[in-house]
Amino acid sequence: MALLELKGIDAFYARIQALHGVSLTVDRGEIVALIGSNGAGKTTTLRTISGLMHPAAGTITFDGRDISSTPPHRVVQLGICQAPEGRRLFQRLTVQDNLEMGAYSRRDRGGIRDSLEKVFTLFPRVKERRHQLAGTLSGGEQQMVAISRALMANPRALMLDEPSLGLAPLIVDTIFGIINEINSSGVPILLVEQNAVKALDVAHRAYVLETGTIVQSGPGKELAQSEEVQKAYLGI
C-alpha cells in the first residue's frame, strides 16, 4: 500500500472549487512531481494533505491512517512536512530560531544539532545569515531558509512547494541535488514545481494537474516525452 494516498479529493475556497476529485499516491522512497499551470490547484493539494484545509469530499491516508480531518500539527507529528508556498518564514525570528522551529516536534537534541549542521553545509549562505532576522533576508535567501526549515523536521515524507522559485540558477541546481540526496536516504518527496524540466527529470513519477483535475500521470521521464506536457510545461 502506498505511504500517502489521496482519493477523490474535492476542495473549495469560498465558492470556488479548487480541486475536483484529485487522486494520487506517493510510495515509500519515491519522488513524485506535481506539475500544472498557475492556479491548477497544486498548492491546494498540498494544503489539503497538511490539514491546512479539509477536503469537502474524498479521503487522505498516510501510512494506513485516515488524515482527512487531522489538524496540521498532528499531521506534522505523523511525519509529513511541508515547505509551503510563499516561504512563510517567521519574520521576526532569526534564521537560526526559524530552523529550530522546524524541529519543533522533535525531541532528540543530538539529532537536531546534526540536522542543523547538515543544513548549514547544504546552504552556506544560510549559515552566514543565521543571526539575521528572517524578515530582512532577500527573496532567494528566504527560500533557502524555508527549505532548510522543512528539512529540520527530519520528516518521514516531505512536500516541497515550488522550491526553486526565485532562486539563482546555481542554487536551483543545488536544490535539485539536495532533493535527490534526501530521497536517496529513503524519504519520499512530493514535489510541486514550475520548472517542469528539472522536476520531471528527478521525479520517479509525476502527475499533471489542470484546473483542479489530474489529467495525466506516469513515470517522470515518460511524461517529459508526452506531447501535451512538452507543449504546455516544458516550453519546447
Binding site: 475556497y13 470556488i16 499551470s37 498557475n38 492556479g39 510563499g86 549562505r125 545569515r129 530582512t136 533576508l137 532577500s138 527573496g139 532567494g140 535567501e141 527560500q143 533557502m144 515550488e162 522559485l165 526565485g166 532562486l167 539563482a168 540558477p169 546555481l170 542554487i171 536551483v172 541546481d173 514550475q194 517542469a196 507543449k231 504546455a232 510545461y233 516544458l234 516550453g235 519546447i236
Partner: protein, 257 residues
C-alpha cells in the same frame, strides 16, 4: 540630457554593518530592456528599493531623466514616472482588478476633494476616462474578463499581469519589474516576454530583475550582474553569459542555455 533615462551613480546601501549594494554605477538607456541579475541576496531588490524611494541610498545618487531623485519619497518617484512591480506580489487584495488599475492612475488624475464630494462634471468626465483607460490596460495585459474579481481571487499568473497593468496605469517612463516570471510555466513566460516587448514598443523603458536566464538572455538589450552588492559585469547578453566570474558566481551549469 542624454539617452540615459536612469543613472545609478555610485550607489551604496548599507543595513547596519551589511553592505547590500556596494558602489554600483550604471545607466539604463531610453527605450531598452535592461536586466539586473545576480545571485540571491546580491542586492538587486535593494537597488530597486533605492530607486523607488523605499530606502534612501546610504551614499551616491540616482538620476532619473536628468534629475536627482535620491531621497525622494516613493509617491514622488511614482509621480515622476517610475513604476514598479514587487518580488512578492503586492496587489490591493480586497479591491477589484479594475479598481487596482484605477488606483494606478491616481497620480495622473486631477479631481480635487470638492470635485469628488460634489461629483462635478469635471470629476465625472475624468472618472469615465479613468475607467476606460483601466479596461484598456486590462485588455492590454489580457485579463479584462477578471475586471470584477477581487485581486486576491485571481490565479497567480493573472495577479502578476494585473500588477503590470497597475504599474502601467501610472503612465511610467520607466517600468521596474522584480522577477516578473517567477512561478510561471514556460508557456506563460513566453507570453510575458511578448508583453514586455509590447510595452517597450509602446515607448516605456523596462528595467527588470529575473532569475530565468532564458527570459533574461532573450529579451534584454543589456545586463548588469551584481554579486555581494558589487557590480561584476555589464554588457549585452552574449558578453555577460560568457563572463567567467558570472558563470562562477551565478550561472553555474545553466550558463549554457
Amino acid at each position: 540630457m542624454n539617452g540615459n533615462i536612469l543613472e545609478i551613480r555610485k550607489v551604496t546601501k548599507q543595513f547596519g554593518g551589511l553592505v547590500a549594494v556596494d558602489d554600483v554605477a550604471f545607466a539604463v538607456r531610453r527605450g531598452e530592456i535592461f536586466a539586473l541579475i545576480g545571485p540571491n541576496g546580491a542586492g538587486k531588490t535593494t537597488l530597486f528599493n533605492c530607486i523607488t524611494g523605499i530606502y534612501p541610498p546610504t551614499m551616491g545618487s540616482i538620476y532619473f531623466d536628468g534629475r536627482d531623485i535620491s531621497g525622494s519619497r516613493p509617491h514622488q518617484v511614482a509621480q515622476m514616472g517610475i513604476a514598479r512591480t514587487f518580488q512578492n506580489i503586492r496587489l490591493f487584495p480586497f479591491m477589484t482588478a479594475l479598481d487596482n488599475v484605477k488606483v494606478g492612475q491616481h497620480v495622473r488624475m486631477k479631481a480635487k476633494l470638492w470635485d469628488a464630494m460634489l461629483k462635478t462634471p469635471r470629476e465625472r468626465k475624468e472618472e469615465v476616462r479613468v475607467r476606460d483607460r483601466a479596461y484598456e490596460l486590462l485588455r492590454y495585459v489580457g485579463i479584462e474578463r477578471f475586471a470584477d474579481h477581487y485581486a486576491r481571487n485571481l490565479p497567480y499568473g493573472q495577479q502578476r499581469r494585473l500588477e503590470v497593468a497597475r504599474a502601467l496605469a501610472t503612465d511610467p517612463k520607466l517600468l521596474l519589474l522584480d522577477e516578473p516570471a517567477a512561478g510561471f510555466t514556460p508557456q506563460e513566460k513566453v507570453q510575458l516576454m511578448k508583453l514586455v516587448e509590447k510595452i517597450v514598443a509602446d515607448g516605456v523603458t523596462v528595467f527588470l530583475i529575473e532569475h530565468d536566464m532564458r527570459v533574461v538572455m532573450s529579451i534584454s538589450k543589456r545586463i548588469c550582474v551584481l554579486d555581494h552588492g558589487e557590480e561584476i559585469a555589464l554588457g549585452p547578453p552574449d558578453v555577460v553569459r560568457s563572463n567567467q566570474r558570472v558563470i562562477e558566481a551565478y550561472l553555474g551549469s545553466q550558463g549554457g542555455h
